[in-house]
């Protein structure tokens, strides 16, 4: 019980840091940064000392409780020190993305009323000095990387070293001041403002309290098992983002994570291998890149290695599949799995820096199931969690329950409701404290303590949260129902037999239908293996066996959809969607409105009675000639 009381006392990050530095483990390494080719370490005591010096230095320069400071830079210890220093003084940290141009930087500094800017290097300092005269509230600009700034003589510019020196002077004068400042903070204080890029209008500043960071992250770390042991973490997602606030900044203080900073953003892949982090967060795109890198390397590899890799991969994927279908794998498969790990995956994971990966996150844009299965085969579970700056962490897949379509189970401190029109409404113990200087926007998003996520989704029978699409991308069905064509299309395209698909509904229509493009290569191979003779694409697409094959693929996806959004009827199109005919963009995205109009007759037929339809389509040949194709295609019901 004593522990709980202590936890209640330590209700802010600076208090936690002080306790760690003064505790029994103060001389343990808290953060590492690779500099000049060597990993340099800072202990908890060093960390606290730097934060204290910087805090007092900024106070000497005029920082007051409740003021804001903007921090703009790459992930480095100095970023973390600046945030903790601000919070120790009772001020609020505001992260700014490094790729912002001067005009955007000005918006963040101005809107947040920041009085200090802590900037990384010359590049960022230049941006701030450019707009200095338009920011009357700004007192000082502090930078930490002096490169190129040696000759700068600006009355409001000083280095972090100079600020810390001022702080040490202050410490000698008033040794008790730092403790007083830290003790003055409490859990309800706003700790950080994270700007969220709204789809419309200017970015809004979501205020996060110390409680959000301390207690919210503590609960999260416990729920996901990264609170107990000493774990390594590689910090490279922007700290201006709430996720890094939770994982890197609060996570290290609340749990026992050691934060490692890569040398440069370009060296992450190298550094990750040197660290072998236990906990890490990659965006969806990065996972795809890693996967592509492995595929490319394998293609360049020797024939023996490629053979071995392919065998091992198929074993790994087979085991994944059994787990997904919840079939027991049996001793033989377990032995094969072990062998595959020893033969290929162990070395591969080492290459990728994933040897020790234990809790691996991704969020944002959906990671495709293939990628998730690829890493599952290697024994790495990518947890796609659902949350936002405003709502905090809403759901995380529990261990062993990673499923491609699900965002996992709702956290115990969160309540999720589904509104009339299918929008997810979220109430959480750890929510944002509103938008800075914008109560109207806050009021618009909050109803009875529930936050309107703007996401369309539902909870399935097993309590998994399925997030389907943004509300504004939904399409109507009769009876005021809505469904997400993109969601269904994306999932259908994961089938090797379906190359492209258009999913159609409409206000006057009761159900959903689809126009399917079969994948000529894979379906052709399927037909050859089963000795099904065919002549052309059109012929192949209308074979009963092929229609049965596609029906089965649709059924699989239907199972993940709510009843009304399931595809009831489809046709296999007689031709492929073609960028030459403007059906696709050059980046192979479907031109929805155009295709719907072009195949209007066909879509009519899908909602009609007949089992077959004659189609004529104008075709533009490569050489520019126009032709007309006539053929009959079958309309198929999905049982």
């Amino acid at each position: 019980m004593r522990l709980e009381g202590e936890e209640r006392m330590l209700d802010t990050l600076p208090k936690l840091l002080r306790a760690k530095a003064r505790g029994a483990h103060g001389s343990k390494v808290a953060m590492r940064v690779k500099d000049r080719g060597i990993w340099q370490s800072y202990t908890w005591r060093d960390y606290f000392e730097k934060v204290g010096d910087l805090c007092l230095g900024m106070v000497r320069l005029g920082l007051q409780r409740g003021e804001k400071i903007c921090i703009i830079g790459e992930n480095k210890p100095e970023w973390f020190w600046a945030e903790l220093a601000a919070q120790a003084a009772g001020a609020v940290a505001v992260g700014v993305f490094t790729d912002c141009v001067a005009r955007e930087v000005k918006y963040f500094i101005e809107h947040s009323d920041s009085t200090f800017v802590v900037a990384h290097d010359q590049e960022q300092v230049d941006k701030v000095l450019e707009i200095r005269d338009e920011l009357p509230l700004l007192k000082k600009v502090i930078y930490w990387d002096p490169k190129g700034l040696w000759g700068y003589k600006h009355p409001d510019l000083l280095s972090m070293g100079e600020a810390m020196e001022l702080g040490r002077g202050m410490r000698r004068e008033r040794p008790e001041l730092l403790d007083e400042l830290i003790d003055g903070g409490c859990g309800d204080d706003v700790a950080v403002i994270c700007y969220t890029s709204g789809t419309t209008g200017l970015p809004k500043g979501a205020m996060l309290s110390q409680r959000w960071l301390v207690e919210g992250v503590r609960e999260w770390s416990r729920a996901d098992g990264w609170d107990r042991e000493e774990l390594e973490y590689l910090s490279f997602i922007p700290p201006a983002w709430a996720t890094e606030q939770g994982l890197g900044i609060a996570g290290a203080l609340v749990g026992n994570m050691r934060v490692n900073f890569p040398e440069e953003p370009e060296t992450v892949q190298e550094n990750i291998r040197e660290i072998g982090p236990h906990v890490l967060f990659y965006g969806a795109r990065l996972w795809e890149n890693v996967n592509r890198m492995v595929q490319a390397r394998m293609m360049d590899s020797t024939r023996l290695r490629r053979w071995l890799y392919n065998r091992c991969m198929s074993v790994g994927l087979r085991i994944c599949k059994m787990q997904e279908e919840e079939r027991p794998s049996g001793p033989l498969w377990r032995l094969l799995g072990w062998a595959a790990y020893q033969a290929a995956f162990r070395a591969l994971r080492d290459r990728l820096g994933l040897t020790r990966a234990k809790v691996v996150y991704s969020a944002g844009g959906a990671v495709s199931p293939e990628i998730i299965r690829f890493f599952l085969a290697l024994g790495v579970e990518i947890k796609l969690f659902y949350g936002s700056t405003e709502m905090g962490v809403v759901s995380v897949p529990p261990r062993g329950e990673v499923r491609p379509e699900s965002s996992g189970k709702v956290m115990p401190w969160v309540e999720v409701k589904v509104s009339q029109d299918g929008e997810l409404l979220v109430k959480s113990k750890f929510m944002f404290s509103g938008y800075y200087k914008d109560p109207e926007a806050t009021a618009r998003k909050m109803r009875d303590g529930f936050y309107s996520s703007g996401d369309f989704g539902y909870l399935d029978e097993e309590g998994h949260l399925i997030v389907i699409d943004r509300m504004e991308d939904l399409k109507p069905l009769s009876g005021d129902k809505k469904f997400s064509p993109q969601y269904t299309e994306v999932r259908l395209r994961f089938s090797p037999f379906i190359k492209d698909v258009l999913v159609v509904g409409g206000e006057q229509r009761d159900f959903v239908t689809a126009l399917v493009n079969i994948d000529l290569e894979n379906v052709g191979r399927y037909a050859e293996a089963r000795r099904i003779p065919y002549t052309t694409f059109t012929d192949l697409s209308q074979k009963p066996e092929v229609i049965a094959l596609v029906t089965e693929e649709i059924r699989k996806v239907n199972r993940t959809l709510p009843d009304y959004a399931r595809i009831r009827r489809f046709v296999n199109l007689h031709k492929e969607f073609d960028a030459d005919e403007a059906e696709l963009t050059r980046t192979r995205k479907l031109r929805r409105a155009f295709v719907e109009e072009r195949y209007g007759e066909l879509i009519q037929a899908l909602y009609g009675e007949g089992g077959e339809i004659q189609v004529e389509a104008a075709v533009t040949y490569r050489d520019g000639r126009q032709g007309v194709m006539r053929t009959s295609i079958r309309i198929n019901d999905v049982g």
Partner: protein, 263 residues
């Protein structure tokens, strides 16, 4: 004034057979300055650099580095005195990585023998670590971290140019000769390189001679410029004056066009 000159070239003349490459060239480099040497193709710019660092032996004239005549020294002796240079067509060990290339450049400053060095033992080991630290500083300075262990031959051209500058810097030069450091680069790479050169000048105060074609670059970064034409120095002064000098315009554009340009 004379005491402040790092390099003094007096009446330097170089010829290959009947061809006069440099004719009575007088030039000095002052402490801490960036001196640009410009001129049309074949004006003798690179030959001038080659004379300074001992690749060519001039027939007449003198070159004094910090008051000491160097025109009769061999290239490696001149390098030891602290004159280092980069080349128009990058000269690096293409089979070694960036770090090894820079470490090799520290060779002039290594005192311990090869045997101790190979054994990585005692004073040699201390020395190696010391040099590595200096090299790492240069890597940090030129933002070469991502390619530290990459083989130089496989690097893009712009990066190799940067490595070459790094190699020259690793020798801890008292005078830096840069032969077309920005040739063949795109705008962004040029801007980066210009920034690095200015940073070197600002941080280390290393005097430099830059041979360059790009007038914009010269205007941006050099303190002074000298113009060569067929081996003669035809003008010298602040870059802004130089570009307006009729002799320079004539040398670059030819007689008629210059008239047209002015008319």
């Amino acid at each position: 004034m004379a005491a402040e000159n790092v390099l003094e070239i007096r009446k330097l003349s170089l010829g290959f057979g009947g061809l006069q490459v440099l004719v009575d060239v007088d030039l000095e480099v002052r402490a801490g300055e960036i001196l640009a040497v410009i001129g049309p193709n074949g004006a003798g710019k690179t030959s001038l650099l080659n004379c300074i660092n001992g690749f060519y032996r001039a027939q007449r004239g003198s070159i004094a580095f910090r008051g000491r005549p160097i025109q009769d020294l061999k290239p490696h002796q001149i390098a030891k005195l602290g004159i280092s240079r980069t080349f128009q067509n990058i000269e690096l060990y293409t089979g070694l990585n960036v770090l090894e290339n820079l470490m090799a450049a520290r060779h002039v400053h290594m005192r311990r023998g090869a045997l101790l060095g190979a054994l990585f033992f005692g004073p040699a080991r201390r020395e190696e670590i010391e040099h590595r630290e200096l090299v790492e500083e240069i890597i940090d300075f030129l933002e070469l971290e991502p390619v530290r262990k990459k083989i130089v031959g496989a690097l893009p051209y712009g990066v190799r140019k940067r490595v070459e500058l790094g190699r020259a810097l690793a020798m801890d030069p008292a005078l830096l000769l840069l032969d077309e450091p920005m040739a063949g680069m795109n705008v962004e790479e040029k801007e980066d390189m210009a920034r690095f050169i200015l940073d070197v000048s600002e941080l280390r105060g290393t005097p430099m001679i830059i041979v360059e074609h790009d007038m914009e670059v010269i205007m941006d970064i050099s303190d002074r410029a000298a113009v060569l034409d067929f081996g003669h120095k035809i003008a010298e002064g602040a870059p802004t004056e130089i570009v307006r000098d009729p002799r320079v315009i004539r040398a670059y554009l030819g007689e008629e066009e210059s008239g047209a340009a002015r008319g």
